[in-house]
Each structure stands twice: as C-alpha cells, then as structure tokens.
C-alpha cells in the first residue's frame, strides 16, 4: 500500500491545480463529418420555436440518429438531390432522423442509407414533409431500413412531392394517425410503396407507385394500440407494375404481401378508390381482403375488426392485373390451383363480417364496383374453400356516398379531387 502514497500526493496536487484554474480546453472545430453532425444536432436541440434550420448543399456523412424535440421548427435543405444526409455505416440509433415535435416541417433534402427508418416522426401534430427523398442507394435489400418516411401516432400530416426508394417495409407510410394528405409523391422499389395503416381520414392522391412489391395499401393490423383506421380516399394515382419480388425479412407481416399487388384494402372500412390508373400488377390490381392471421400468429385484440366493408371503387382505368400471381405464398398458390394460373384485376375474398350472430350479406359488406372499364373481377370465396367463386363484377355494381375531402391546417382549403 505504501508504494501508492507518492503517486496519490502528486495526483491530488495536480487535480486541485487543474480544478482551480478551471481552464476548459474546447477542441477547435473543423469541418469534419463529426463536427457537422454535432453542430446540426446542437442546432436541433437548442432551436427556439419558430426556428428555421438551413442545411447547405452537399453530401454529409452522419453515423448517429439526428433528433428533434422542439415544436415549430423547420429543417430545410437546398433540394432533394443537393442536400444529402448520408447515414451509410451508421453506428448508433435506429432512425436516420427522429422527430417528436409539433408543427414540424422538413423540406428539400435527402436521407440516404439509414440503418433503420429514414425519417421517423412520432406523436406530432401538424407535420409537413415536402420534397424529401429517402433512399437506400444499393436498391432493394432485406437489410435496408424498414420505413422511409414514417410518421406514426401523428395528427394532421402532409407528405407531398417526396420520393421513397427501396425501404424493406414501406416507403411512404403513415400509421396510427388521424387526418392525412399524401400527394404527388413517388414510391419505387419498396416492399410497400405507400401505406396507410391503422389511420383515420386520409387523402392519397396524384402519387406514383411503381416497381414496388405492392403499390398503395390501406389496412388495419391487430397488434397496435391505435385501432379503427377508416375513411381513406385513394384517387388520381398511378399504380403501375408493382412486381418487385418481396424482399422484406420473413418475420415481418409485410413479407406476406403478394408480389404484384396494385392496391391492397384489408380489414378496413370506408375506402374510396377512384380515377386511378392501375395496371400490370401481377397478382391483382386491387386486392380486397379480410385480415387472416397466420395460424401461428392469432389475433389477440378485442378491439380489432379483421373484416373489410364499405369499399367504393369507381371510375378507375384498370388493366393487365393478375397475370402472374405470387405463388411463392401458399395462400396464393392454393388459389391458383382453384382459380387458374391467372387471377383478375380486382380480387375479393368474399368474406363478410357476421351480423347479430348470423352470416353477413353483400348488403352489409357494401363492396361497390362501378365504371372501371373492362376490369376483370374474382370473388374467390375464401370462407368456403373457394366453392362459390364468382367472376361477375356486375353483382357488385353499386354506389356509396362519396367520402369527404380532407383538409389540413398546412394546406388551408381541402385537398383536390372530387
């Protein structure tokens, strides 16, 4: 023990000399990537409400999630191809950017190669995402981040003129949210191009979804706290050739999305699909279905409704669907054995929610198809082992009241459309 004494003495003296001089040695700043990241993160933390944080032109490397918690902040770049935040080789944090704030606007920049989700916005009101590109630059890969543009549990969400490429779950997504406009976006080579999940009151229009596994999907899933998604309008979109082989990790629910899905309508009510161009999606241009969980993943949520009802599909230009269904999935393979090697433009499982303990009727289900040109149709009667399949869309010719347009504080008047 004695041998320590001199050392301790010296150390103690040095310690106190340093403490009393308290000269802090700030490291000088240079333009290294770490400094850019640190400065930007500091700006985001210190931002006062109302602040506009401008990011110059250039490609900036970041290795850790950027986060924002201050309300009323705008982050603005110089353009989605000019200001690039690259998270290639990210070391910490799952998201590229993580925002938990109200009255948030982000525009004119790109987020590339995030380890996980590219731009995640949680629990915010009045969220605007404009001219933002999110991309995994090596193209579709199982190891890409799951979500591109990813507002969840938000209210009043505007996503416009943005681009999402190669997300391993959904490119442009809104989940567990209320009052949403997604317009003029482009989703390419994602598993799900544009996704509206457990969300109420959404207008989805003038988007292009192409070369995804599935183009645009509106649905509810059981294992989420916010339930009851409904009132979704999908119109004036181009949903073309979404035939990229599903590359989601197999444990993900989205891995069950058939390759070649144009529009998926699942376990939801009050959906209006109109004036879209929907073509050449190889499993189906529109797939209307109950949520039937895998046998080993049963539904355990009393609030959840797995059935689909009140879907009004009209005035669309639909062609070339169902030419080559995704037989990789056992359910689809089973259906090809019953229905043939090609399906139809519009695919419906025919499952209707029971009413008062009795089987529901078509009048209860309110699936309406009208004026969709020469679109072909198949009800494959999933509940009865494909026994009473029907191909006559005329039986479903009916109309439903038009759903109301969505308006947002960010856009002033209601969005376009009917």
């Amino acid at each position: 023990m004695k041998r320590f004494v001199p050392a301790v003495l010296v150390v103690s003296l040095l310690l106190f000399a340093a403490a009393c001089n308290s000269g802090s040695s700030e490291s000088s700043s240079s333009a290294s990537p770490a400094d850019f990241q640190k400065k930007l993160q500091e700006d985001l933390i210190k931002a006062a409400p109302g602040a506009v944080i401008e990011i110059p032109e250039g490609k900036f490397k970041l290795d850790k999630t950027l986060s924002l918690k201050v309300d009323k902040v705008t982050i603005r770049g110089k353009g989605m191809d000019k200001t690039i935040l690259s998270f290639a080789g990210q070391k910490a944090g799952s998201a590229g950017m993580l925002v938990k704030a109200n009255d948030f606007t982000i525009e004119d920049l790109a987020i590339e190669d995030a380890a996980g989700d590219a731009l995640k916005v949680e629990d915010g009101t009045n969220i605007t995402i404009r001219r933002v590109r999110v991309e995994w630059t090596a193209g579709p890969k199982e190891t890409n981040g799951p979500y591109g543009i990813y507002p969840v549990t938000c209210k009043n969400v505007l996503i416009e003129d943005s681009v999402a490429i190669a997300a391993s779950d959904a490119g442009i997504y809104v989940g567990q949210s209320d009052t949403v406009i997604m317009r003029r976006n482009r989703a390419e080579r994602n598993v799900a191009g544009i996704e509206i999940e457990n969300t109420k009151n959404a207008d989805v229009y003038e988007n292009t979804a192409t070369n995804n596994t599935g183009g645009i999907m509106a649905f509810n899933l059981p294992d989420l706290p916010v339930q009851g998604g409904e009132n979704v309008r999908i119109y004036n979109n181009k949903i073309i050739g979404n035939n990229t082989a599903n590359f989601a990790p197999t444990s993900q629910i989205v891995a069950g999305l058939p390759t070649g899905t144009g529009v998926l309508v699942m376990a939801i009510r009050n959906v209006e699909i109109f004036k879209n161009v929907i073509k050449d999606n190889n499993t189906a241009n529109i797939n209307i279905t109950t949520f039937s969980p895998p046998e080993d993943k049963p539904i355990k949520n009393e609030k959840y409704n797995q059935f689909v009802a009140s879907v009004y599909i009209h005035d669309n230009e639909i062609s070339g669907g169902g030419a080559s269904p995704d037989v990789r999935l056992p359910k689809i393979a089973g259906l090809t054995r019953a229905a043939g090697k090609t399906f139809a433009d519009v695919l419906y499982d025919g499952v209707i929610e029971p009413k008062d303990g009795k089987p529901g009727t078509m009048a209860d289900a309110k699936i309406c198809l009208d004026n969709n040109g020469a679109a072909t149709f198949l009800n494959y009667d999933a509940a009865n082992g494909f026994k009473k399949m029907g191909k006559d869309a005329k039986a479903y010719k009916c109309a439903l009241p038009a759903l109301a347009a969505i308006s947002l504080p960010q856009t002033g008047a209601a969005g376009g459309g009917m």
């Binding site: 993160q41 944090g93 799951p146 993900q252 046998e295």
Partner: protein, 398 residues
C-alpha cells in the same frame, strides 16, 4: 435481506465505493487521496462551499462543481451534505459501466411515496448518476466519464449531461457530448475496446420520457427496497429516506414492493429476476406511454397480460428480427426475438436501442434461462385457443 458490505461502500466514511474491481487498493488510495485532497482543496479553491446550490432554470451551470453536489475535488466523488447515495436492486445495463447514484432534495421537502411508479419528487430535487470504467492508464483506479443530472425544475424535469475531463477534476455540461474511446476488462475478464456513446439531451428523453414528460426511471419503491451501508450504519433505503425526511407516505419496507437482484438467485425466483431485468432494461421504453409503447410489447414488472409481455406476439414494424416469429416463444429462447435483439449490436436491431455497445453476456444468460423455463405446453395450447377465433369467424361468413 442480507447486507453485502463488501460490495458496497466504505462503511465508516460517508462516501461510496468507487470500484467493483479492486476494492482494497482503491479504498486505501482514496482514504489517503481524500484527506490530502480536502486539505489542499479547502485552502486553495474558492469553489468550495457548504451545501448544494440548486439551479432550476436555464442557463444551467456549465460546470458540475457549481452545483456543489460533491465535495470539491474529492475523487472518488464524495457526496456533499444532504446528498444521499442510493442503489437499485436491478439496474439498467450500460456497457458494464459502474454507476453511482445520488439524490438531494431542498430542506423541508420530501418525495411522495408511490408503490407502483416513480415517486413524486419536490421541485428542486437533484438526482445524479455517474458512469465510470476501470482506468487503463491507472490500474486499480476508475475513470468517470459522465455525471448525468436530473433536476426537478418548476416546469418539469431537466436532463443535464456533464462530461468529465481527462484529469478528472471537473465536468462540463455538453448538449451533444462526443463519444469516448475506452478499453477495459469487464468483471468476467473479457477485454472491451469500444466507442462509448454518451447520450445527448434528446437521447436522455428517449428513455426518460413518458407521455412526452421527462421522468426519473430508477427511484421506484420496488427498485429502492434494499439495504445500503450508510455512514450511520446499514439501513433499508426506503426506511432511511423516510427517516431523513426525503420520503413521506411510505409503508414499512417489509410492506413495500421489491424486485429481486437480477444476478442473485437468493433474492428471488428465476421468473422474478428475469422480469426485474426486463423491467429495468426494456420497460423504460416498452411501457404504456413510453417511447416504444406503440409496439404493444410491454415489459413492466407489473405487466400481467402475457401477449403484451411478448408471448406469441408477432412484431409489427420491428424491421429485421432474425426471422424469428414472436417476441417470446415460451420454452424456445432461440426462436424468441427478445433474445435476438439482446444479442445483436447492430444499430437497428440491438435493444436497448441506445446506450449499449456491448452484449450483456450475463443478462442474456438470465433471459435465455428464463425463456427456456417457460412451459412449452403453453405454446401449443395458447396457439390453438387463440387461433380458434378468426377461423370460426371465417367459417360463419357466407
């Protein structure tokens, strides 16, 4: 409950043990160092004051010493008068950091007891947690990297990360601290060379927030209900806090809830120890209102819904899960996502998501044993029972 003085503190002095690695030499070094340090410090340094100086609004002091939470210059840190060290039965794993916790409340104020949750602390409360690692340059000693303050200001809690200088003489408030390269051996003897990442102010909130409100995590009855060696002798922490006026409304410690010590089989069953581990290593986010509340995978010690706890719960938006089907498959650790996430260090897979670079070998062992111990017959039974509903519903359809 057994008191383990040897794993605690130097009982006759009111300061805390600073090492889990070399108790004897550290103890002696610091007895000496402290006496010398205090003697020198008291005459040469006007930073010395008596008593904590609390700051409740911006701008917060740039230097930790301004708070006077610790006696000036003492290393290891010696809590100032009224600053009470505390420990938790089962803590959060942070890359094998040794953590030193203290709490201080203004004269005449007390926290209000809550049997289920964090106590309601009075305005002015200052909680500290200091993180240290074995100092490779000074064998037998430790190096503090950071002291995190949680301050109960008038408008809620503030999280303030203070980063220690190389000389260990002062810590500076940094909103976005730089990562630190460290090398050390863990208690099991494994060498680690890591980039230790210190959370920035936003990242503090990532764990500490519930329903958008920043809250302390550790100081709950069930975590604090254990003995600690105080200067006056060993006592139960809840009893001690009541005695010194820091806590009101608490029952006798024997009546209060308690979680076991995760790695002490004498303190509780395997199930209880695993649940305590999940409570303190996952539930800060995975609880209702927590950052990961939306995932519906909820791991609080008090959770009773097995689906929410992960039994046969498929992931929703989890990203890559090693192609495992459920958060928990009873009896099958290798099929449970929970274990996969604990074993991964890849940023988008690892859990906890931040503030963990190293795999917690011993924690994984505990959770693996626990998952293996969960009755497998439940697997078939639960699966069959739960599958009945949707299939029957489909049959009823026309």
């Amino acid at each position: 409950m057994l008191l383990r003085v040897s794993s605690w503190m130097i009982s006759f002095m009111n300061y805390r043990r600073w090492s889990e690695f070399d108790m004897i030499s550290i103890r002696n070094i610091f007895r000496l160092g402290l006496v010398l340090g205090l003697a020198i410090g008291s005459v040469s340094c006007d930073l010395l004051g008596s008593g904590v100086r609390v700051h409740l609004a911006e701008p917060f002091p740039a230097k930790l010493s301004k708070w006077r939470l610790f006696e000036a210059g003492a290393m290891p840190l010696k809590p100032n008068k009224g600053v009470v060290p505390y420990d938790l039965n089962t803590p959060l794993f942070s890359d094998y950091a040794t953590k030193h916790r203290t709490i201080w409340m203004p004269e005449g104020t007390a926290a209000v007891y809550n049997g289920e949750d964090v106590f309601d602390f009075p305005v002015g409360t200052v909680i500290t947690k200091s993180f240290s690692f074995p100092d490779e340059k000074n064998p037998g000693r430790e190096r503090i990297l950071e002291t995190r303050l949680l301050v109960r200001a008038k408008d809620g809690w503030k999280a303030l990360p203070y980063i220690w200088n190389e000389a260990q003489t002062e810590a500076t408030l940094e909103i976005v601290p730089d990562p630190v390269e460290i090398s050390f051996k863990d208690p099991g003897g494994t060498q680690h060379n890591i980039t230790y990442s210190i959370p920035n102010a936003n990242e503090c909130a990532q764990c500490h927030e519930r329903h958008k409100t920043l809250l302390p995590l550790g100081p709950k009855a069930r975590n604090l209900n254990r003995d600690l060696a105080y200067a006056e002798g060993p006592a139960n922490q809840l009893d001690h806090w009541t005695k010194i006026g820091y806590l009101k409304g608490a029952p006798a410690a024997a009546e209060a809830p308690r979680v076991p010590v995760w790695n002490d089989p004498t303190s509780g069953s395997l199930d209880a120890r695993a649940r305590a581990y999940l409570d303190n290593n996952c539930a800060h986010c995975h609880r209702p209102g927590g950052v990961a509340g939306y995932t519906a995978f909820l791991t609080e010690f008090t959770e009773t819904d097995m689906r929410r706890l992960g039994y046969f719960k498929p992931p929703n938006s989890a990203g890559y899960t090693g192609n495992r089907p459920f958060d928990i498959v009873p009896g099958k650790p290798e099929e449970s996502i929970l274990l996969y996430r604990m074993e991964s260090t890849r940023p988008k897979e690892r859990m906890p998501e931040i503030a963990r670079e190293i795999v917690h070998r011993e924690g994984i062992q505990l959770i693996r044993e626990w998952l293996a111990s969960l009755p497998q017959e439940q697997t078939a039974a639960r699966s069959a029972a739960a599958t009945a509903r949707p299939r029957d519903a489909a049959k009823e359809a026309p």
